[in-house]
Point group: C2
Amino acid sequence: MTKKTFPLSHVYRLLEPGPVVLVTTSYKGKANVMTMSWHTMMEFEPPLVGCVISGRNYSFDALTATKECAINIPTANLAKQVVGIGNCSGNKVDKFRKFGLTLLPALQLAPPLIAECYANLECRVVDTRMVNKYNFFVLEVVKAWIDPSRKNPHTLHHQGKGVFMVAGRTIKLPSKMK
Amino acid sequence: MTKKTFPLSHVYRLLEPGPVVLVTTSYKGKANVMTMSWHTMMEFEPPLVGCVISGRNYSFDALTATKECAINIPTANLAKQVVGIGNCSGNKVDKFRKFGLTLLPALQLAPPLIAECYANLECRVVDTRMVNKYNFFVLEVVKAWIDPSRKNPHTLHHQGKGVFMVAGRTIKLPSKMK
């Protein structure tokens, strides 16, 4: 793996801008992946992430049963795969094979990491109180990886119906905020 | 107001890409505004939004007491105001005056809308179960406004410590997803 460890205290910098992500799970010996945009940071450290994973997704059962997933952050070169993954079910196809994605073992979890994604977050479910009503899971990021060669990753930001905003330039302003 | 009503069923298209937003509240006759990036869509319609508003924010008390706020979505031309608002407290200054923002009345709420923002969402708190543990509020968007002349708004996406990604180009791929 060419990726290096990314500090947990900085994970919010990856998810706060709202990129679409690929969530991997592993259940009964079978890995799966889904596309997700409904997530938010909830705490800096340990990093907590809240996310909605619908009961209509095949990944829902895996996440509920195993309490483990990985959040993989793709960039614009993977746009076709991101949409393709969102438009089929792991119940019917092996999405990793279908979309030519390379799997890497996680350090602390059974779900695989996606090599083509520039960052990977190993997560455990830590709160399921809001699952029944909202399909809302609280995850703790227990290990984070990043490709250090990707300085200004062109993440994808879904605007509905297959339209994505691609991350543009960055600006820096003096700020006391984290 | 030059803004027109925006369909509630499309609100997810505004928030799903993860823009930094300005949250307005009104409490004891005094309006206030804070900068927020920790939010996620939770349901399409009626649109539900989950967000973290820390107890350290002056707005926390207003939101808890009144159960009302507006989410105002700024664009890159407001970057200085967005950072400035995040770096001072409504406990000490009138941030609207300090940053030269124009207030418009909301239709269904006491909190004002910010005229300079390209979209405004009138929200009510509908679930506070996760407030004690995570400062996490579930909001329902009850009315939405948009400036129809702004076709490709350059929203701001916080990457930590005053660094913002500015929304770039958009791409469209064939998709069956909402």
